[in-house]
Symmetry: C2
Subunit: 295 residues, 2 copies
């Protein structure tokens, strides 16, 4: 089979053998933002044409390609949901010469009834099921909108989103904080830890943000340290507000610099983290494919 | 005397009689952002020339004209501070034919030692001293950066800043929330109250922000209601994090639509508010002028 993780700004595909092993991989700078209406089939075919010619006939696609702004909207599947549920809720798309499906995102409601959505992360979460012990586990997918899922025995029971990454982006670009911040400076872990510690003090996030401005005015926070401090501050608030009581281990799924930041933030709360860095989406797509075959 | 409130984007001046009565007033679209280096004296003279010609010889200026980006930097005066302290810490500027001074801003440290600054609000706070009962009072000046001051018997004991207004501006303009928000819609008080209530639920501000996005996707929050909901959410978080325990009354100083929003937010916490809407800066400048004369 062929698995595709087609996001807003990236495209990755894998040729996956029957036993789940990755036989080949391809990546392209063809996130959905670069793809016009009616062009999805052609863009996909250009990337995976050789595998199709070689006999592959099933394509599963996760990520924002299944959003309203993508190829076709694949409606959200409500939690609790597992691989069989996702395989039973695939949205077919026209693709000459192979059967091609979009994986749905997941929806949930928090304890107060406010809705939640994820699209793409559900597949990465499925990809790490083999590594989770029995019973409830906390799985965290960092990103512009980080997703905290409770996963038990193969099922995503519920999840919760934090706006942290996008908040960092706008605060560090469009506010008065940006004027005294060198965003290209290397990570300053001391400043990051200061931000983490600050998040546990009273006054709230909005107060702590102004404190960064005032510290800058008084020469107590350098431009080189400011971005790391802001990152620590936001992650500290996120973890304090989200970490389920009594949690001692969190499974981090993803890649890039955010993984290290979240691991460090969680460690400051006494939590051990396990990274699942590589190609979790491919493993999740294969698992959905298995369910599809067995259905 | 002549009092001037010279801010980032506005200029207001008053001719004030010896008893504090306002004899005349003038406003101009000459905030400091419109004034080039070396132009401050000329801009000021153009606005208040007739009063000078009529015999006024003392000019007191509060606001961002005393910042690094203004006419000249007037160093912050540390709290606790009163009118006499401010009068003793004025920064003179060259102005032919009159004595002319910049009022310093105030600085403070919060309980954790993080610095605080205000510039302009200190003068408005002084302007409402007559209305405050004995003992500690909570005075709140809404704005891009709202200031919560504890004022007792004529002295600003301490204060704390919240980044709420600027956070609203960037979240409603530069994030994914902006895509489903009609910022020009009239205030929707039901949505504002929903936001206030949401702020008291668990998950933290960053989670509540994403919830607005998801509610929009599910048709549970209209574009017309979204800005009011965001405003209520942010003010709810601000008040919950800042309101001193046991507070039953807050004095609101300022003008414009934010006053009504803060009054409503505070009412939801059982707090009565007293508005001090008009020309508090003029009253504060007069009070500093009195201290200057008596020094």
């Amino acid at each position: 089979m062929i698995g595709v993780d087609w996001g807003t700004s990236s495209f990755r595909a894998w040729r996956i053998a029957a036993d789940g092993a990755i036989a080949a991989r391809v990546a392209a700078p063809r996130g959905i933002l670069t793809v016009g209406p009616g062009e999805f089939e052609a863009v996909l075919r250009e990337a995976i044409g050789p595998w199709l010619a070689d006999g592959e006939d099933t394509v599963l696609i996760c990520g924002m390609a299944g959003s309203r702004q993508g190829w076709k909207e694949a409606p959200y599947l409500p939690c609790p949901a597992d691989a069989a549920g996702l395989a039973g809720a695939l949205t077919p798309v026209e693709f000459a010469g192979a059967r091609c499906f979009l994986v749905p995102g997941l929806s949930a409601r928090d304890a107060q009834g406010v809705p939640e959505v994820m699209r793409g992360e559900e597949t990465k979460i499925l990809g790490l099921l083999d590594r989770l012990p029995p019973g409830p586990n906390v799985v965290l997918s960092p990103g512009s909108h980080s997703k905290w899922a409770i996963v038990q025995d193969g099922t995503v029971l519920s999840f919760l989103t934090q706006f942290t990454g996008e908040a960092f982006a706008v605060l560090s670009t469009h506010t008065i904080l940006a004027r005294t911040m060198d965003k290209d400076a290397p990570a300053d872990w001391g400043a990051f830890d200061d931000g983490l510690a600050r998040a546990r003090q009273p006054g709230g996030l909005l107060h702590h943000l102004f404190g960064m401005r005032a510290r800058g005015l008084f020469g107590e926070l350098t431009e080189a340290a400011a971005a790391s401090c802001l990152s620590g501050l936001l992650l500290g608030h996120e973890v304090a507000a989200t970490l389920p009581e009594g949690t001692t281990r969190v499974f981090l799924v993803g890649d890039g610099g955010l993984m290290e930041r979240y691991a460090r933030a969680l460690a400051s709360f006494g939590v051990t983290t396990t990274d699942v860095p590589e190609e979790a989406a491919a493993a999740g797509l294969w698992r959905i494919g298995q369910s599809l075959e067995n259905a």
